[in-house]
């Protein structure tokens, strides 16, 4: 084998390699951090709560941050990862200053909201983490950069270095990678579930501490004001949706995570042969996000989402999990939109949180008819079998055995490769 060491890479070549290597991280969020702007400062940047997607790639994903790796050299050998030691992929390495210059040049032209920096592990975890923190330090201290910074932290690194990362960054994240410890041991032999969760626990404690201090001292330093997030790879090991949902719910509760990202294991060039032969359909990732939403915004317990799953523990792909739940528990329907409590309205397939808020506000003023509901929702056809209004009662519909067939979208989405 010939080691691939190009003579001298240009900045553009490095950017191509290190952006390519970073694209398997799903997160690109730039929302939910403390408000700040560059008035009265020396540099550029502002964050005003709402994230901004500055472009969209043809994969449908938003481009909000400059998402790159500092280097894709790595001493670890995780099978699902394109940057694993044994992968035959071109390697490159940025200096911290190069990343700083790129970030500022992109930011000044309004291409991005900030930086999402991650890295392969070079030398050791501490050295790598120090380099990541150095980039954030130069941006914040030397250039007074007030845009968004998301740093990936390396659980194996010392707690003090991770702490320094949280002082500069808006958000920190540590990837749990796989939903089961067995999967992690098999596919990421150099990683350790205990270590990952330990680091997440420490980060949570620091976030709470810093919030608490700011209540008492106005100038206490902020620590990761946009909280922490994590990512799980779906479909690389045998974990079913039920297992993944359970894991996500544990993570939300135990570590106060802002988000759990699900990344459908994406066929990577030069894949390791240990990986499963079948790719998960992209739709599975989508269904997991939907169930994540059900737990966070719709008052579903993890067990209830699991109830919507099929016998093999996976959520149906042809219908969304809320509809699946409604079809399984028909005795809870129809829901009277004029009387039902908010919790029950949120269970109606086709009613989102905003539609429910609109219904609750409107019904104080009028008794809702089906036409009114049609104005308040995106699609009354989807809602109709599960609600009743003064002029509508789906007696025959809700009890029909073939209801599923009537509701399920007819056109089959083609599976992408």
């Amino acid at each position: 084998m010939f080691p691939k060491v190009p003579m001298q890479q240009t900045l553009r070549q490095k950017l191509e390699i290190l952006a390519d290597a970073a694209k398997y991280d799903a997160s690109c969020a730039s929302s939910g951090t403390a408000k700040k702007n560059s008035l009265g400062g020396k540099g550029v940047g502002s964050t005003e709560g709402m994230g901004i997607c500055h472009a969209y790639a043809p994969d449908g994903r938003c481009i909000s941050l400059l998402k790159i790796l500092l280097t894709n050299h790595c001493i670890f050998d995780c099978h699902y990862c394109i940057n694993r030691k044994s992968a035959n992929t071109p390697r490159a390495r940025f200096t911290p200053q190069e990343v700083v210059d790129l970030t500022l040049n992109f930011y000044r032209r309004n291409y991005i909201e900030g930086l999402f920096l991650s890295s392969g592990i070079v030398k050791n975890a501490n050295h790598t983490m120090e380099q990541l923190v150095e980039v954030a330090r130069i941006l914040r201290e030397e250039h007074d950069f007030r845009g968004y910074i998301h740093l990936k932290t390396i659980p194996e690194a010392d707690a003090e270095i991770i702490h320094a990362a949280g002082l500069y960054a808006d958000r920190v994240s540590i990837n749990v990678e796989l939903p089961t410890t067995a999967g992690l041991t098999r596919l990421a032999p150099d990683k350790n579930a205990g270590q990952i969760e330990g680091a997440m626990g420490r980060t949570k404690a620091r976030i709470i501490e810093a919030k608490d201090e700011r209540k008492r001292f106005r100038h206490a330093p902020r620590f990761a004001p946009a909280g922490q997030s994590t990512q799980m790879i779906v479909g690389a090991d045998g974990a079913s949706d039920t297992v993944i949902i359970g894991k996500a719910s544990t993570l939300y509760n135990a570590f106060g995570l802002r988000r759990v990202y699900y990344s459908a294991f994406s066929p990577i060039p030069d894949a390791s042969a240990v990986l499963p032969l079948k790719r998960p359909p992209l739709l599975r990732e989508h269904r997991l996000y939907q169930s994540d939403w059900l737990m966070r915004f719709y008052g579903f317990a993890p067990q209830e989402v699991a109830d919507a799953a099929e016998a093999d523990g996976n959520l149906p792909l042809d219908i969304d999990p809320k509809l699946a739940w409604a079809l399984k528990f028909r005795e809870s329907f129809p829901v009277d939109v004029n009387r039902a409590p908010k919790e029950m309205l949120l269970r109606v397939p086709g009613l989102g949180t905003k539609a429910v808020a609109r219904i609750l506000a409107s019904r104080r003023h009028r008794t809702l008819r089906l036409d009114d509901v049609a104005r308040l929702t995106a699609s009354v056809a989807k809602v109709r079998p599960f609600i009743c209004t003064v002029d509508w009662r789906p007696t025959l519909l809700t009890d029909r055995a073939d209801l599923r067939g009537l509701i399920v979208p007819k056109s089959e989405q083609l599976e992408l490769f």
Binding site: L15, Y24, P58, F106, R109, N110, D372, L416
Partner: protein
Amino acid sequence: MTAMQNVSLGAHYAVHLPAPDDFAAWRERARGLVQCDVPPDRVSWIEPGATGDLFAAEGPSRGDKRLPPPPADAPPVRASQRFLTIARSAALHSDPARFGLLYRVLWRLQRNPRLMEDKADSEVRRLEELAKSVRRDAHKMHAFVRFREVEEEDGTPHFVAWFEPDHHIVRAEAAFFMRRFANMRWSILTPRGSIHWDGEVMREGPPARREDAPGGDPVEDLWRSYYASIFNPARLKVGAMLSEMPKKYWKNLPEAELIPQLIAGAQAREAAMVKAGEREERVRPATLAEVAQGAAACRDCPIADCGTRAVAGEGQSGATLMIVGEQPGDQEDVVGRPFVGPAGQLLDDHLARAGIDRAATYVTNAVKHFKFTWKGKHRLHQSPGAKEIDTCRWWLDAERAIVRPRIVLALGASAARGVLGKTVSISKARGTPLALDDGSELWITAHPSYLLRLDGAAREEQTALFAADLAAVRERLAELTG
């Protein structure tokens, strides 16, 4: 005196607004009209540049009456906070009917103060839609303005952007860019007017043309590279992209020119992967003969194209011990059997000395084809790469599933990778067995060809270690078979 006495009955009022985005002016006029009790159907709102009001133009009796001052005892005009928030945005919409709608809702609010809560009301709904599309337009402006750097005469950088908003949002959004780029000199030019910030003062300018903005910026090349590289061609979702970044914005986005070629590239890649993916549909072979046949026809890695033959494993299905080597060598390729060359002879000697009967074992290799380079007339052995070992693992896994050995003995790092799927260090892994998923044990030792390459003391030392490993395997075999 009541309000109605103050205005002429049946009069029609045409109200001229100073600017299409002047909410404050509308608010002031609307307040006066409500206090004078002028119903909505008697007011038309005219913004600059509009053709004027049809009714007002009809005749002198319906002309633009000057609104009298509101009566002193007129009750204060009331509106909910929600209405104000929504109205501020909706007033910026490009729909000419927006001010009339705003006035109608304001009028109704005087009688029904909680009207804004009635989301099923069609006028409230329409107002919310207007506000929503203005907010979206503003959000897209935050997102899609692209500055280009030009150098001013005094040598300072000036960042200039061209943007085409759908609604009258430019003045309202100036503050956002000021807060974000407070210490930069910048201008945003649009067909609805322009704004300029010099680091201290905001100035407004007349509508601009695209030609007034700079044509390019060298950093755009880097940005396009980033855009192309962060795109994951394994997941093409053009619809999702279009819903958030509609085509009307593309002409002002430097990266958008890449989109057609990225989509075409992804589709070509998809076709290639469908072909490569045929392997995934393959059924795992059920017999050793099928493995031999399949491996012979296998072209999944480049080694198979070296013009050599696949050397199948040899031995009993159901053997307790499976011995895995790296790959066939020159001799093995000629003969078509594993471990018949110099390394094979050394292995046979050691097996005999340890008391292991080769005939009762199953012997195979991690990689089934011989990888070599020509050196003169000789074929010189080359180690297979990790990728090649991982690819060939398909066949080794099949053999393990058929033979079902109790112990797998891996000779060398390549063999260990073939079994485990990851690279291990021989010196660390030897001597202690590893449990495999199927319940069998993996013992790892050096490859005999390694011994052949050593000399003197090193060779003696390694030979002793090798012999000790085989003896340990022998002992364990005896334990297992009782």
